[in-house]
Structures are given as C-alpha cells and as structure tokens.
C-alpha cells in the first residue's frame, strides 16, 4: 500500500542534516525506510571495505586532502575513520624512527600503490554516493514528498478522481 502524502511536509533542513550525518537517515526520515536501510548498508560496506583494504591511513587529511574531503561525506563513518587516523598518528609519535614515513614502515601501516587507489576509491566513492543520497533526500523534502511513491494504477485512480471532482 502506498503511503505517499503531502499533508505533513518534512523539514528540508532536518532531512539534509540527517542524510549528511548518517547515510540513508534522510530517506528514513522521509518515510522511505527500506531505501534508507539499503543506502546505509551499501555505503557503510563500501566505506569500511576501503578502510579494510587501506588500513587506518586510508583517511589522510595531510597527504590526500581531496580524497579526505570525499571520505568525510560519509558522515559518521568518516568521523570514526578520522578519529582512528588521528589516534594512529599520535601513536606513531611514540614510535622510534627518524621520519614519519620510516615510522609508518616500522608499524606496517604505510599505504602504498596499488592498495591506496583501491582503498581511497572505495571510501571516497562511498562519500560521493552519500552526497547523491543527501541531495535526493533534500529535493524530496523540498517537494514535500513523504513515503514511498504510489503504484502506477493507484496514481491513475487518483488522477481520475481528481478529474471527476
């Protein structure tokens, strides 16, 4: 049964905020729960697959700024990844060695080609996909759409009723 309604308009700012913070949360707020869950699972799996491939330095605001910006678009996942990266960098300071690169080699956390491309590609694309979903949630909320779209035959019935009245 379709539940699309324009009676209680969603708040665009809240939809934007939720979609930015947690992937899929914007869609859940708009009553599209299944879509929200699919978006959350896919974007989370993609981001954490990237981190699994590239390790803790997949997120590196110092050397890979633009990838970092894309990764931060995953919201809460990006924040967790950034926090872990900062903790790892602090830990590196206690490791003996001359340069940061040498310390990373010693700890075996240096991210090298081709793993860096795959890892940052996964995590960065996850962020860009969340940007797409955020934009979609924002547009739906601006249009005042709530719930799943009505099936085609139901839409036709509604149009016919509207034409009759």
């Amino acid at each position: 049964m379709a539940k699309q309604s324009k009676k209680s308009s969603p708040l665009p700012f809240l939809a934007l905020l939720l979609a930015c913070a947690v992937p899929g949360a914007g869609h859940v707020y708009l009553g599209r729960v299944q879509r929200g869950i699919i978006i959350f699972l896919t974007i989370s799996a993609l981001f954490w697959s990237g981190v699994a491939i590239g390790g803790v330095f997949t997120m590196d605001p110092v050397q890979e700024r633009w990838w970092f910006v894309a990764e931060m678009l995953t919201g809460v996942h990006g924040l967790i990844g950034w926090h872990r990266q900062k903790a790892a960098r602090e830990h590196l300071e206690s490791v003996e060695g001359d340069s940061p690169d040498e310390k990373m080699e010693k700890e075996k956390i240096a991210l090298v080609t081709p793993a860096d491309t795959a890892a940052r590609g996964y995590a960065g694309v996850a962020g860009l996909l969340n940007l797409l979903c955020t934009f979609d949630a924002l547009m739906l909320s601006i249009m005042g759409v709530r719930g799943e779209p009505a099936p085609e035959d139901e839409k036709r019935k509604q149009k016919a009723e509207a034409a009759r009245s």
Partner: protein, 74 residues
C-alpha cells in the same frame, strides 16, 4: 613489530587483484543509484544487474579503446 590487524594495517594487493575490486565498486554504485531512482523496490535486483553490466561493459570497451590507442597510435 606489530601483529596485522584488520582496518588498521593495509592489505597487499597485486595490480590484477585491484582490477577485480572494480566489480564490487560498480555494484555499490548501481545499488545506491537505483535505490534512489526506481519507483518500485522489488525491481531493484534486476535494475542493478543491468546497470552493473552496462558499467562493466563500458569500462571494458573504454579500456580496450585506450589500449588500442596506446598500442597503434602513430
């Protein structure tokens, strides 16, 4: 010397291993894109499958084209 830990240490990848990682990436892009685009969610698997096939076919054609240019361009 520290033990290898998932999500902390990077994994070692070969070049061809990296190429195979394109498939899950295309699948994830397809799932998210189709989730926000399609009207009925029950059609999602079919739509995603076709989109992933289109993407992979496009990538293969592009790579073959670029390889031909690289090999035979005067």
């Amino acid at each position: 010397m520290t033990a290898w830990t998932l999500f902390y240490n990077p994994i070692t990848l070969s070049f061809y291993g990296e190429l195979w990682l394109l498939l899950p990436l295309c699948a994830a892009v397809g799932v998210v894109y189709k989730t926000i685009r399609i009207h009925h969610l029950r059609r999602l698997p079919r739509e995603v499958l076709f989109l992933v096939l289109y993407m992979v076919a496009g990538l293969v054609l592009l790579s073959v084209g670029l390889w031909l240019v690289q090999e035979y361009w005067p």
